[in-house]
C-alpha cells in the first residue's frame, strides 16, 4: 500500500528514497546521470509513434484521440446494470467494463446452492444469452467496446457477446470486446480460477486463435499486471510477470501453427496506477519499450502496430483506504494523472467508496469526471509524453527497464511462468512482498495519510451501495424460466457437442457460440469444462 520508503534524519529532512521496485532516488539529476545509464535518444526513446514507442504508440498522443473511459460497472440483475451502463454513457463514458458477480465468474448458475448469497453482489449475474440481451439492450456495439472482466470461463462470455451482438444486428467483424481472459494472473492474485493450469491456458489459446480468424476487432486477452500488483507485487514485478505470462500464451498459440505476427496485435494490458507517481510513469514508458523489443527481437514481429503495448492503466484499488474515504477522491486524481502521463489508451478509476463496497452512482460519476477533467481542463492532451527529456524521468525509465528485465529473468530461471505458478513460487514471492509492505505500514516506514499519519478518531459516514436480496430471487426465477422455455433438445445437443470438442482438443469457441444461441447456461457450459478438465488444486505456499 505504501508508495516508497523515505529515510529521514532527526530534522525531518529526507536522506534516502527507495521506490517499491528497489530503485534509489537521488536528490537531483543532471546530464551525467543520463550518461551513466547509457541513455540514447534514438535507441531508448525515439519520437512518439516510432519504435520502440517508449514515448507513445501514437505520434500525437492524446491530441489525435483522448483516452477511452471505461468505469468497471455491474451489479444485481442485467436490467439494473443496463440502466447504469446507459447512465455512464450519457455522461460521456465511451467504453464499457463489465463487472460479473462471483457465481458467473466461477461458472455457477444463479440457482446453484454454491451461489447462495453472492448472486448479483459484486457484479452483474449472468446465466444465459437472455441476460446479455437485457444487459446490452440499446448499446451501440459498433461504437462502444466492452471489457468483460472474466477469466476462467472468458471463452463462454466472449461467445455470448458475439451471440448477443448478432441478435442485435451487429456482425462479428464489427464488434470490439476485450475479455480479461488472463488465467495465469488469476492464479497469482484475485483467485477466480477453476481449471488446472494447462487447461486454463488452453482456453486462453482457443480464444486467441478464434479471434484472429473471426473477431478481428476484439482483443482476446488482457494481460493483467494489475491484480498481481494488487496482491502485493512491486511495479517492476507487475510488468515483468505480465510479459512472462504473455510469453506462455504466445507459446501456446504458436504451437497451434500461428505466427506471433498474426495474433499479438490482439494482446492488451491492464496495469495499475497507484503508488509513487514518477515510478508509475517510468514503469509505463519502460514497459512500452520492452514489450515492443520482446515482440520484435524474440518473436520476429515486424508490423509496427503489432508491437504496441496498448492498455488500460487505471484502478488503483490497493492505494485507497477505508479511513477518511474522501481522501480517495484526491488519491484517484493523482493516479489518473499517472495514467495520463504514462500514455494510457484506456482508463478507469476505483471510486472513493470502493474500499467499502461497489460504488454508488454518484461515486462512479465522480470517477468519470476526474478522468474528463484531466483531458478537457488541465492540459493533459496538449502535447505527447510531456515528461520526456527530464534527467530524472529518463534515468528512472532506464533503471525501471533494468528492474523489469531482472524480474523476467527470475521467471525464466524458475522454468517459465506456467511452472512458477504450478509450484506456487510466484504466489509465495507476491505474498511475501505484501507482508513486507504491510509491516512497513504498521511500523510507519511507509506513510499512508489518514491511516498511519494524520489519522482521525471519528470516521465520517459514507453513503454506500446496498445489496438488494430481491435481485437474487429475480435472477433465479429468470434462469429457471430460461431452462423451462428454451428448446431443450437443442441446448442438450450443443452441450454434448461441446463436451466432445473439449475432449478432442479442438477449439471450443465456435461451439460455445452455438451453445449460447441455444440458451445453454453459463453453469452448463462451464460444467462441461469442469467435467472434462477437473479443478485446479492450489500449491501450498506455507
Amino acid at each position: 500500500m505504501g508508495v516508497a520508503k523515505y529515510i529521514k534524519n532527526e530534522k525531518d529532512a529526507i536522506e534516502e528514497v527507495i521506490y517499491q521496485s528497489g530503485i534509489k532516488v537521488k536528490p537531483s539529476y543532471g546530464p551525467d546521470d543520463l550518461k551513466e545509464v547509457g541513455f540514447d535518444y534514438e535507441k531508448d526513446l525515439a519520437d512518439p509513434g516510432q519504435y520502440p514507442f517508449t514515448r507513445s504508440i501514437h505520434p500525437q498522443g492524446y491530441r489525435s484521440r483522448a483516452w477511452t473511459t471505461r468505469q468497471y460497472t455491474g451489479f444485481g440483475t442485467p436490467a439494473e446494470t443496463n440502466g447504469r451502463f446507459k447512465m455512464m454513457i450519457a455522461h460521456g463514458q465511451n467504453g464499457l467494463n463489465v463487472a460479473f458477480d462471483l457465481p458467473t465468474q466461477m461458472g455457477l448458475d444463479s440457482d446453484d446452492p454454491k451461489a447462495k448469497g453472492e448472486v448479483g453482489r459484486v457484479g452483474m449475474a449472468v446465466d444465459s444469452l437472455k441476460d446479455f440481451e437485457i444487459a446490452f439492450k440499446d448499446i451501440p456495439f459498433d461504437r462502444i467496446g466492452a471489457g468483460l472482466t472474466i477469466n476462467a470461463n472468458a471463452t463462454v462470455m466472449l461467445a455470448m457477446y458475439q451471440a448477443v451482438a448478432k441478435k442485435y444486428g451487429y456482425p462479428k467483424e464489427k464488434i470490439s470486446a476485450t475479455p480479461q481472459n488472463d488465467i495465469l494472473k488469476e492464479m497469482i492474485g484475485r483467485g477466480a480460477w477453476i481449471f488446472p493450469v494447462e487447461h486454463g491456458v488452453r482456453l486462453v489459446g482457443d480464444s486467441i486463435e478464434y479471434a484472429v480468424k473471426e473477431l478481428p476487432r476484439c482483443s482476446p486477452v488482457s494481460l493483467c499486471g494489475y491484480h498481481i500488483r494488487e496482491s502485493g507485487a512491486t511495479p517492476a514485478q507487475e510488468i515483468g510477470y505480465s510479459f512472462e505470462i504473455a510469453r506462455a500464451y504466445i507459446e501456446n498459440v504458436v504451437a497451434r501453427g500461428l505466427k506471433p505476427e498474426e495474433f499479438v496485435g490482439g494482446f492488451s494490458f491492464n496495469l495499475n496506477v497507484y503508488g509513487n507517481l514518477w515510478e508509475q510513469v517510468a514503469k509505463f514508458r519502460a514497459a512500452r519499450k520492452l514489450w515492443a523489443q520482446m515482440l520484435k527481437e524474440e518473436y520476429g514481429v515486424t508490423e509496427p502496430k503489432k508491437l504496441f503495448l496498448r492498455g488500460l492503466f487505471g484502478g488503483g484499488g490497493s492505494g485507497l483506504t477505508k479511513a477518511q474515504p474522501e481522501n480517495n477522491i484526491i488519491r484517484s486524481s493523482y493516479y489518473a494523472l499517472a495514467a495520463a502521463l504514462g500514455g494510457a489508451q484506456t482508463t478507469a478509476l476505483c471510486s472513493f467508496d470502493e474500499a467499502f463496497t461497489i460504488p454508488t452512482p454518484r461515486a462512479a460519476l465522480l470517477s468519470l469526471r476526474t478522468l474528463e477533467i484531466l483531458m478537457d481542463e488541465v492540459g493533459l492532451r496538449d502535447t505527447v509524453d510531456p515528461l520526456a527529456g527530464s534527467y530524472f524521468i529518463e534515468t528512472l525509465t532506464k533503471q525501471m527497464e533494468a528492474k523489469i528485465r531482472e524480474e523476467m529473468q527470475k521467471i525464466k530461471d524458475l522454468g517459465g511462468m506456467i511452472n512458477a505458478v504450478s509450484t506456487g513460487a510466484i504466489q509465495s514471492e507476491v505474498a511475501n512482498q505484501a507482508y513486507t509492505f504491510e509491516k512497513g505500514m504498521q511500523n510507519n516506514e511507509l506513510i499512508k495519510v489518514g491511516v498511519n499519519k494524520y489519522a482521525e478518531e471519528e470516521e465520517p459516514e459514507v453513503e454506500l451501495h446496498e445489496y438488494n436480496e430481491t435481485w437474487a430471487e429475480d435472477q433465479i426465477a429468470s434462469v429457471q424460466e430460461v431452462r423451462r422455455t428454451r428448446n431443450n433438445r437443442d441446448a442438450v445437443r450443443c452441450l454434448q457437442k461441446l463436451e466432445q470438442i473439449t475432449r478432442d482438443g479442438l477449439n471450443v469457441m465456435p461451439c460455445l457460440v452455438e451453445c449460447c444461441e441455444a440458451y445453454a447456461t453459463v453453469g452448463e457450459m462451464t460444467g462441461v469444462f469442469r467435467e472434462v478438465f477437473g479443478e485446479w488444486r492450489e500449491p501450498n505456499i506455507f
Binding site: W193, Q442, E459, E538
Partner: protein
Amino acid sequence: MTQKKIRVLLAKPDLDGHDRGAKVVALALRDAGMEITYTGLHNSIDQIVNAAIQEDVDVIGLSIMTGAHLSIAKTLLHRLKRESIEDMCVIIGGVIPKQDIPKLEALGIDGVFPGGAQFDEITTSIKKMIAERGE
C-alpha cells in the same frame, strides 16, 4: 515447561478469491510463533470444519471480503457445535463494517479484525483467547 505452539487454520470460505489479507496474516502469525495451515481458496464451510478437525487446530480464522460474514459465521458456529468442537476459537477478518462487529461477537465469534488491524493486536488477542479457553 515448553509451551505448545498455537495451531491456526486460516480459511477463505466460498467463492471470493481475494486472499492477500489471509496470506499476509498467515505470515504474521507464523512469525509470531504459531503453526499455520491455510486452506486456499473456494472452500465450503464443511471443508473448513473438516480441515480444522484433521489439523486439530486451536483457532479458525476466516477471511471474508464479500459482505456475507454474518451468514457464514452463523453456519460455521452451528457446524462446530454439531461436531462438538465449539471450544475452538473463531476469528474473522476482511471487509467488516464497524456496525457488524458487535453482531459477530454476539453470535460467538471470538475476535473480529477488519482490514488495517495491527498484527500485534491479532496475535495478542489470539494468545489471550487461547489462555482463557485453557483455564
